[in-house]
Amino acid sequence: MAKTDITPEAMEAKTQQEAPQAATQPAAKKIDSKIPEGPLAEKWTNYKSHQKLVNPANKRRLDIIVVGTGLAGASAAASLGEMGFNVLSFCIQDSPRRAHSIAAQGGINAAKNYQNDGDSVYRLFYDTIKGGDYRAREANVYRLAEVSNSIIDQCVAQGVPFAREYGGLLDNRSFGGAQVSRTFYAKGQTGQQLLLGAYSALSRQVKKGTVKLFPRHEMLDLVIIDGRARGIIARNLITGKIERYAAHAVVIATGGYGRTFFLSTNAMGSNGSAAMQCYRKGAYFANPAFAQIHPTCIPVHGEFQSKLTLMSESLRNDGRIWVPKKKEDAEAIRAGKLKPTDLKEEDRDYYLERRYPAFGNLVPRDVASRAAKERCDAGYGIGSTGLAVYLDFASAIERLGEDVVRARYGNLFQMYEKIVDENPYKTPMKIYPAIHYTMGGIWVDYELSTSIPGLFAIGEANFSDHGANRLGASALMQGLADGYFVLPYTIQNYLSDQITVPRFSTSLPEFVQAEKDVNARIAKLMNIKGKRSVDSIHKELGHIMWEFVGMGRTKEGLETALEKIKEVKKEFWTNVHIPGEADTLNVELEKALRLADFIEIGHLMALDALNRNESCGGHFREEYQTPDGEALRQDDKYMYVSCWEYQGDDKEPVMYKEELKYEAIKVQQRNYKQ
């Protein structure tokens, strides 16, 4: 393992207390990540040169189920369809185009170096590993950086209208954690344009007959036959009918589990249930504690609130973040007696520029979020609750003019004004961190295969590329990398010996049993006939998660969370009320099924956070920080991926470790100051 260069002083600063190894046992199973041999830069080329393929005539005899139609799911389903596989594509929305990738605003990274500012595949790889606080797998991240350029080419060929310069070539902007401009964008709607590109490609395959769509269908269980993933049980959300679907392989592309916190930037339907179904069938769940809290969201304002709206990280290119320098000014602002625009320059604390001169307002998300929390906790927060900071465009407007700022961020400013009823051209935006993305997810190896043969996980649903913190504009990159350029190769290595396996009948006993189990779970929920709505219990879970498993975690807090989540679980399973019938459209039943899994995920997140006695990326344990409040890793003990294995409903899961080895990169403490 590589040596770290954390200073001895910093090491001493950490507290010595160690939490008990929560429910973990010595790693008995060896986790094989199947990283190909050879130098880092040649691994993917070598893999592709030597992997097994499926010939065109055999492809059409093989069925692949893809669950989810976001960037990863839609691009994978389209690409597999183009190759000739027979694809079944499922989504819970009324159309594949609605998947929550659509809401990604700022952009997509690629190592094109079109700006001639020193970018390269290695630099993108390095920034991603460093941004992830040295908790991601080197080989996967290098491959991600390697295929990033092809993604941009592909999207342009599909007609994605990326922003351009007057000369007709593509424009770039900067994102957090990078010192180059490598982010491609389409106004503040990059996710929308990329998803519509993938959706177009998917639509083309539907017309050709290689892909069949199943919108408004929700996966409720994974079917395993002889140890391999062979199908799913899904509920038709319109008719309520439970249906069986068989295939030679199953791909999970169902996104993240941020809505465990109830309030998040995720869509209302985003959920972690498919991942949990796979987990309960034996797939490892990796690094569940690694959740990203995005620094720039519109602050919470009331109990009725259903979601939090993100203000793109791209705004930090030109916006400056500050709070008042004096507490009395902050108090006056909170009381409505003082306006931010009245405060003189010298009375403002641009705390990111002050603390991190090298990266300034463009520090990574975890760093920016914690810094905002630190200022608010210290009493300098603004807004009616004191839980907000300013994102100010006054100096950008002065420097560039309002028109340029409008051209760059117009739609974001409009969105802010519609929600908050304040004009951000005239007064600074109020922002605060919110749950946004989950780096943890289903464990996958280099081939994106889970620990269950024939079951693959791609996009945010897997854990592989972002370590403990994801850099801005990298989620779109990873989703499309997995879907267009990685899975379509690696899945063939698995399918090559499946060509003689005939299509499965859904009358097999494994399907019958899985459907029976799903029906039993639904009947159990419907029969509780309690007094509380699903949302009211979900909000309760959300409060626990935000308070104890949010931005600042402690051993005591996490132990409290585990207790409280247990109480929520009991309350849910004895007192939830689901109106209506199960065998028809029933939105409350859909929400209840998802909440049942969110409760389990919340438990898993707290357990993993308690086990990880260190701070890294988005996981900040208050006991482990440097004297100036930065995350303090414990590389000698925790340089591993925690892989949790389900043991049964009433038992704690067992954890295995995938040790991380850094061969190309020197592991060091992250530094965004110099």
Binding site: A78, Q154, G168, V206, G302, S306
Partner: protein, 251 residues
């Protein structure tokens, strides 16, 4: 500034596609003007569930105006009285204490009601499948900067591509036409050199699918543009017509 208002809702309730629907009245107290319209409906549903009634069914997902899943015809306007927003971004500050608010589903032959305020918009997917794409496979494409595109064209394509496929244009149109939706996609791709190659075929295929699925024709009333939450311009319809005529002349 934040305040609370009392309102009366007249909501369309309909069990299924073939069943008869009717308006039902509900009164709601102390709704914060800072809440969004859908958060107000969440409050109503919480109340209905606690009273043992069936909650109102409506489509929604991202709640930030981009997924296109939310709909609702509010006081005679798709996405309600505010301008340039979807229903999920409409806020209660646009309403007054004592208001009676009428909420209906999209009403159009192309969008049958599923239940209450939820409609079936799968026809839009079918129109897209008819030709709303550039026929390229994954891989083997030129470098992204190989073909420079004038900024003005790229920007105009982006404006057209902003369409979220919500169907407000169809709901607003007295003919139930999907021309604004179709023309936005046809324009986006026709404005780019990559999409130019199939422009004629695309225009014909998408229009003929639109007709086949029961959407009406365009009579240039401009209602679609006026109600579009994303400001998609009807100049796109003019461009679609040009593409269509050019294609027909070549036949």
């Amino acid at each position: 500034m934040e305040k609370n208002i009392n309102i009366t809702l007249r909501i369309w309730r309909q069990k299924g596609p073939k069943e008869k629907g009717a308006f039902k009245e509900y009164s709601l107290q102390n709704i914060s003007t800072e809440s969004s319209f859908l958060e107000m409906l969440d409050v109503l549903n919480e109340q209905l569930i606690n009273n043992g009634e069936d909650p109102v069914v409506f489509d929604h997902d991202c709640r930030e105006g981009i997924c296109g899943m939310c709909s609702l015809y509010i006081n005679g306007h798709p996405h309600g009285p505010d301008e340039d927003v979807t229903t999920c971004q409409l806020h209660m500050r646009k309403f007054n204490d004592g208001d009676v608010i009428t909420v209906e589903p999209w009403r159009s032959a192309g969008f049958p009601v599923i239940r209450d305020l939820m409609v079936d918009r799968s026809a839009f997917d079918k129109i897209m499948q008819a030709g709303g794409y550039i026929s390229v496979n994954t891989g083997g494409v030129p470098d992204a900067n190989a073909i420079p595109i004038p900024k003005a064209n790229a920007d105009e394509a982006m404006d057209a591509a902003t369409c979220i496929g919500c169907g407000a244009c169809v709901a607003a149109c007295k003919n139930g036409s999907a021309m604004l939706f179709v023309s936005a996609k046809v324009s986006q791709l026709a404005l780019l050199p990559q999409g130019r190659i199939e422009a004629a075929r695309r225009a014909k295929a998408m229009l003929s699918k639109m007709d086949e699925l029961g959407f009406g024709n365009c009579t240039n009333t401009g209602a679609c543009e006026a109600e579009c939450p994303k400001n998609i311009s009807i100049t796109n319809i003019a461009r679609l017509n040009r593409e269509f005529i050019k294609a027909k002349l070549k036949d």
